[in-house]
Symmetry: C2
Amino acid sequence: MANIFDVAKRAGVSIATVSRVLSRPDAVAPATRRKVMQAVTHLGYTTNAAGKHLRTQRSDKILVTIPDISNPFYSRVLQSIEESAQREGYSVLLADTQHDLKREERYTLMLRRRDAEGFIVLGHGLSDVAFEVSRETSGLAHIVGACEFNSRANIPRVNIDNHAAARDAIEHLYSLGHRRIGVIAGPVDSALSRDRLEGTTARAKVQRAEKDLVVAPGDFTLESGEKAAEQLLARADRLTAIVCFNDQMAIGAMDVLRRRGLVVPDDLSVVGFDDISFARYTVPPLTTIAQPVREIGQETVRLLLAIVRGQTSSAVSVILPHRLVVRESTAPPAGTNKRGRRVQIEEPVSRR
Amino acid sequence: MANIFDVAKRAGVSIATVSRVLSRPDAVAPATRRKVMQAVTHLGYTTNAAGKHLRTQRSDKILVTIPDISNPFYSRVLQSIEESAQREGYSVLLADTQHDLKREERYTLMLRRRDAEGFIVLGHGLSDVAFEVSRETSGLAHIVGACEFNSRANIPRVNIDNHAAARDAIEHLYSLGHRRIGVIAGPVDSALSRDRLEGTTARAKVQRAEKDLVVAPGDFTLESGEKAAEQLLARADRLTAIVCFNDQMAIGAMDVLRRRGLVVPDDLSVVGFDDISFARYTVPPLTTIAQPVREIGQETVRLLLAIVRGQTSSAVSVILPHRLVVRESTAPPAGTNKRGRRVQIEEPVSRR
DNA sequence: CAGTCGGCGGCAAACGTTATCATCGCTGGG
DNA sequence: CCCAGCGATGATAACGTTTGCCGCCGACTG
């Protein structure tokens, strides 16, 4: 493999000139530039990453930890992050932590080893090591959170207003006439889930319906959605709607309902979260809170790189807008009319 | 940030000893080892990646290109790759090519720059540059394909027997009594899709039913599944089943059928490919060809690292077993009994 | 014509590590 | 008692690059 010396020799210049041609071409005379470029192409020379990295102290890499890549929501955020990073000349080092803090910890070492210049954390886990690394740096830690956040560490993050989003979800159900509502939440240690839970209960209080809110925890997987739905059905009767803190749990829940012979939305309305691509294809299509995945990825990268490049002295978090997407999994509860008003049972029930 | 000199000074030893303590601890006397370790922990020293990389010529990184991370099948393979790599001490550089050969090409440069030691290609795209890099290396190119493969380049790969898998899918339908079958294939430049198409037609020939096979191309997305299904329905009547070359297109197709008032499997049977996690949750649950995603990832990494480490002189491709998972989206066509035999219309139609 | 200025390119240091080789002291065997 | 040998550690040479500094030369101006 040819190195910069080989190129220099062949072009009859010094290695400094070769380096200059490659990094700042206009700092060198056109004639020499041509000579060098010829040698470069002839030898198939490419700058060696390690040498450059060592000299410049920049690896042009960012580390992204994800609790679970196979979660379509995360994978789409990742996709956006990757694209944005790439556009800025950065590569992405992938770390699937599988919800394991130990793994995340191992990966965090890459930051300290200067293998990566910055660190994006998806999911709520943030190990002690990461926390520590984030503090030991003079100035701003090169860490940004996305979607989730760890309340312990004072780390800038970009996400939607989960409190408001959950409020909107439940508001939608109230406006349809629902009152007794099940909630399939996330793990208790998830700040995101806590925020959404607060959003729902806050809105329920306004309605004076706190008692009618039934919560079952899940872990954002399809299976946990099933389990939670079964719990909900066993624990509470007269439920007319279920809010799920992500679409996968909603899909799992809808499957349970279907197997029990319950029809969505006739018997029960279901609302999801995230608006993953499959949400449009469920039966019936899922009403859900859409998150701006693309923008989340873009903003996260922008924020991180601003910190890394020292273009900002005080990084602030970013809140992006969410959007309620009403599809066909929600409708007024049985026994009410279109407006959500309770009607006489004798009247024909109209829907959608 | 403390470097090896700082540690050496503090421990009162040479840098060589520090390096030894960290890499081969038993090559150094216990007393010195302790002294060094104390200094290391006190200073929070971690080996600098760039220095190590430059010296050892090993980056401990592999590059993985994926046509589309948001495809759940790919993301699960990626997950397995990442885990296996991690276990072997390697990190994964992620490259989402978005089906763009130019992007893949840019990323391939990382291999030449020695930024990554090896290269895993998911998807069928393989740019000229990659092809070239794979040849310029003396000995084996550090490239392994997964799932798909490029027939042009002689690159080892790991995948299922797509020909046989497609045969099994269509065999299943024939055995149920279907004959006139629609196929939603992949892009024509996809070798994987070609193989599967060959598998279906080969099996159809045995049945003397080539004329009853109707093919529409897709591109593995949900939307393309819808489009292809519409084409199929418009072009061919009397179709009793559809085989799709991935689950997402199957889900898209089933949505079209549903909107047209067609019931699966009563009116039409549907078979998918991949067995993504959502396949179990479609309505009805999708019959599909399961791929051993976990094993594909493991084997790919194993194969690549064997090449990288020079543990093998001639890398051969790996074929992993697939499996037909029969769920509820397939049944005998209307007008036949359980055994798949054509019956009198007057008889009651039984199913499942 | 002489002096100065600017553009271009070379020299060399530094980035942080590992591995090879040399060295030194100690031990054990002849 | 001496020397061979061995175990432990130190000195040092790369690995390949970028970049500050400086010198040279040509051109332009007074």
